[in-house]
């Protein structure tokens, strides 16, 4: 089962986790990642822009890829768009699997890949004004690592 959603509305990560956990008694392992707006450096809010249609396709491709690579029962990707205040949730990634390694690795894979493969753009707001967030080289490396592993496996 795959759940892919892009929405402006806030969501309840705990409720999502519990829904995943309850869905399948054949599943020993549930892993999740959630990202939220980080305060602390004067940041007051974020604005998330995306490419409607293309985003959903990209997220579906990422979740499908994860389901092929690992033995998963569920893969969930939920991403918000629009304006968010500090402490609000941005993204939820979840996976359930019979075994823990699959669930944990699939979640890491999906968030790493989302960062570089899904057309989202973040704008930060603080007292000085606003600015578009640049991709971090670290994110490119994290995503590249998964692809490299696949090449190694198929070599």
């Amino acid at each position: 089962m795959m759940l892919i959603r892009v929405q402006a509305e806030r969501f309840d990560a705990g409720a999502l986790l519990n829904k995943m956990s309850g869905a399948d008694s054949d599943c020993g392992a549930v892993a999740s990642f959630s990202g939220q707006v980080r305060g602390g450096n004067g940041l007051t809010a974020l604005e998330l822009e995306h490419y409607p249609g293309v985003t959903e396709k990209a997220l579906t491709r990422i979740a499908t890829h994860a389901c092929k690579r690992w033995d998963l029962r569920q893969a969930v990707i939920l991403h918000r768009i629009g304006r968010m205040e500090v402490g609000e949730e941005i993204v939820f990634i979840g996976a359930t699997a019979p075994h823990r390694r699959a669930a944990l690795e699939a979640v890491s894979f999906m968030i790493d890949t989302l960062k570089t493969q899904a057309p989202f753009w973040k704008k930060e707001f603080d007292a000085q004004g606003e600015r578009w967030v640049e991709t971090r080289a670290e994110d490119d490396r994290a995503a590249a690592r998964w692809l490299q592993e696949e090449e190694d496996m198929s070599a």
Partner: protein
């Protein structure tokens, strides 16, 4: 030929519009970029190697040949998650 051009995020702000329909000569995506830069200096950011091109919902290279009716989107590096 008629091409729908979309700009996202920083490129949208730079170009001053989210979408325009233009009548451009036939050619590749790279040739379209050259045509847009010739029309307006501001468009030079479209030529930056970090700008990704999406044609009809698929990421393409700059050598991709455009057809009339195509939708091409210019995307700064993604920063979601």
């Amino acid at each position: 030929m008629s091409i729908t051009v979309r700009y996202f995020a920083a490129l949208r702000e730079r170009m001053g519009t989210a979408e325009e329909v233009i009548d451009a000569p036939a050619g590749t995506a790279a040739e379209l970029v050259a045509w847009l830069v010739a029309r307006d200096d501001q468009a030079d950011a479209l030529a930056h190697p970090s700008t990704r091109l999406i044609v009809n919902d698929e990421i393409v290279s700059r050598e991709h040949a455009l057809s009339s009716g195509d939708v091409i989107a210019f995307c700064p590096p993604f920063s979601g998650g």
